[in-house]
């Protein structure tokens, strides 16, 4: 059990690092997906630990939420690229301070 949780924490950390370090907007979105996946893994692990269905049901709904967030994120990236030419966070320079 603790091994699974360690896996979840590790994935979460790696994903968070990806969001913070990478400048490619698409990669940042993918890293967020990794973080959400880590959270879903934790839900399933705890569900197993308690022998109840709750965690799994929450996980199923969370998967749907993750997918919806990606859709909006990708739409925004497309709109952004249309305006600025590349999916790059360094091209975000209109808003300062």
């Amino acid at each position: 059990m603790s091994g699974y949780l360690a896996l979840s924490l590790a994935l979460f950390s790696i994903g968070a690092l990806g969001v913070v370090l990478r400048r490619n907007l698409l990669v940042m979105l993918i890293s967020i997906e990794v973080m959400l996946n880590a959270a879903i893994l934790a839900l399933v692990v705890f569900s197993r630990m308690y022998g109840s269905v709750d965690g799994r049901v929450m996980g199923i709904l969370a998967i749907a939420v993750a997918a919806g967030e990606v859709a909006v994120g990708l739409a925004l990236v497309i709109a952004f690229v249309r305006l600025r030419g590349r999916p790059d966070a360094t091209a975000m320079d209109l808003l300062k301070w």
């Binding site: 949780l5 979460f12 994903g15 968070a16 969001v19 907007l25 940042m28 979105l29 967020i32 973080m35 959400l36 880590a38 959270a39 879903i40 934790a42 839900l43 692990v45 705890f46 630990m49 308690y50 109840s52 709750d54 965690g55 929450m58 709904l61 969370a62 939420v65 919806g68 967030e69 909006v72 994120g73 925004l76 990236v77 709109a79 952004f80 305006l83 600025r84 975000m92 209109l94 808003l95 301070w97």
Partner: protein, 494 residues
């Protein structure tokens, strides 16, 4: 198929009626926008429909006042705290909608989408306010966030709008991941998903799950810190506020903020949170201090009015966090603070909307130069809003700050309260700068022409009157707020 209600209180459907009405109205508005996209009259009609939806939601919520109940396996919990915050958010949304009543020409593109997203967002906010389960709370936050991303990017051909939305989305989605992780660990530590029952586990009592509890609270705190815009997690606030169209900014600064604080209050004041209250207070106290200082200092140097208000809203988040960490009287004070903050912030953004009605968005501080001489009524209203932000007596802002700071002092946070007062004094500089600019003479500017529309008059008058009432005779509202938050306090003081 629904379980029969075992309470004498309201029927299950009645509890969920307000969000339901909003979702249905949103669908109607969306369908109308899909099939008939065009004339200003049609836009006006859809706006009225949306306003009607808000009004019905308001009435549905009003029904539940002082009639607490829970339904749907405890996922909806309509206590007074939830109803109070829900009413506040509904009124805020209604005011914003009223404010754009005369602007059907100005905000042509994406009209139907904007209205329906706002209604859906409000439905999410109500779900947050009345959530009885962790998952429902999370989903409410997700609904309101995803709608807010879309609303921020409403002017999708404008680089700043898309950029602000994208920054908002990346940080917001990351915050959601933190929240979900926190919820997972909270479930792991307690074995339950109900907020009310979120107590350190009895089921596995022989095991030490403190580590899980701490991890859960840590993740939840980071996630909620993002959503309320507290300082190390605040960077999205100015970007989103500046990028969004001004009425939307008003919506985000008012209704969305109410939801964020409802969520943080609900989660801090659970058995799980109060079991680690001292630690939470330390962390949140530091965040509050940072938030107040940074928000006020950075607001000093802004030249863009929306951005300045964004930093000022961060500062107000800091003041309200003082209330969050003060179990005795604090939560009630936060509720009252929200009630006083919402009309002022909506009013301030609406002044911007009104003066830019016929032209481009006017959002630089310089655009306000000489405004009060040309439009005395607008100027006067703005003065009231600014004074309320500062916390000058007679306005609601004063009573609110008094309530929060005295709660903080009562709970032993004298130093933080003093810091808050000092920072309020600092804030005088930038708020009064606005007033100064409005009253100095200036060349003719491109403000709106013609008489003020009825919606505009109504919204400004409402905001001013509410602020004055809250400043002069706050008694009943303050009592109501304190009463509504009392169950939360009791949990902590037990």
């Amino acid at each position: 198929m629904l379980a029969p209600t075992f309470l004498t209180g309201p029927a299950p459907l009645e509890l969920a009626l307000a969000p339901l009405v909003l979702v249905i109205t949103a669908c109607v508005v969306l369908a109308a926008a899909l099939f008939r996209r065009g004339s200003e009259e049609e836009r006006l009609v859809t706006l009225l429909v949306a306003l009607g939806g808000c009004a019905m939601a308001f009435l549905a919520l009003l029904q539940l006042l002082d009639r607490p109940g829970e339904a749907f396996a405890g996922e909806i919990q309509a206590d007074n705290f939830g109803v109070y915050t829900g009413l506040l958010a509904t009124v805020a949304t209604g005011l914003v909608l009223l404010g754009v009543l005369g602007h059907t020409r100005r905000y042509g593109a994406g009209w139907g989408e904007a209205l329906s997203l706002m209604l859906l967002s409000l439905a999410g906010i109500l779900l947050v306010c009345m959530a009885g389960g962790l998952l429902a709370l999370f989903l409410g936050i997700e609904i309101l966030s995803v709608a807010a991303y879309g609303l921020t990017a409403l002017t999708r051909r404008r680089g700043r709008s898309v950029e602000g939305a994208l920054r908002y989305l990346i940080l917001g989605a990351m915050a959601s991941a933190f929240l979900l992780m926190g919820i997972a660990f909270a479930y792991g530590a307690t074995g339950t998903t109900s907020i009310a029952a979120l107590a350190p586990a009895q089921k596995l009592a022989h095991l030490d799950l403190t580590a899980l509890e701490l991890l859960a609270l840590g993740f939840l705190l980071v996630g909620l810190g993002f959503k309320i815009g507290a300082v190390p997690f605040h960077t999205w606030v100015p970007d989103a506020y500046e990028g969004a169209p001004t009425p939307i900014t008003g919506f985000m600064a008012s209704a969305v903020k109410v939801a964020a604080f409802a969520a943080i209050l609900r989660l801090v004041y659970t058995p799980l949170g109060t079991a680690h209250l001292a630690g939470l207070q330390n962390v949140l106290g530091v965040l509050a201090a940072l938030t107040m200082v940074l928000g006020n200092l950075v607001a000093l140097v802004q030249t863009n009015f929306k951005r300045m208000l964004a930093y000022s809203s961060i500062a107000h988040t800091g003041y309200m966090l003082l209330g969050v960490i003060s179990p005795a009287g604090g939560p009630g004070a936060v509720l009252f603070y929200l009630a006083a903050y919402v009309p002022a912030v909506i009013g301030a953004f609406m002044v911007l909307v009104i003066i830019g009605r016929d032209t481009e968005d006017l959002e630089e501080l310089g655009d306000l130069r000489g405004l009060a001489r040309e439009h005395p009524a607008l100027g006067l209203a703005m003065v009231v809003f600014m004074l309320s932000f500062i916390g000058v007596p007679v306005t609601g802002g004063f009573t609110a700050k008094l309530a929060v700071f005295s709660a903080a002092v009562d709970n032993g946070y004298v130093l933080l309260a003093v810091l808050g007062i000092v920072m309020s004094v600092v804030s005088v500089a930038y708020y009064l700068n606005v007033v100064r600019l409005m009253y100095i003479p200036a060349a003719q500017r491109s403000w709106y022409r013609g008489p003020a529309r009825i919606g505009e008059r109504a919204i400004l008058a409402t905001a001013v009157v509410v602020l004055l009432v809250l400043g002069l005779v706050p008694g009943e509202v303050l009592e109501g707020a304190l009463d509504a938050a009392r169950p939360l306090e009791l949990l902590a003081l037990k």
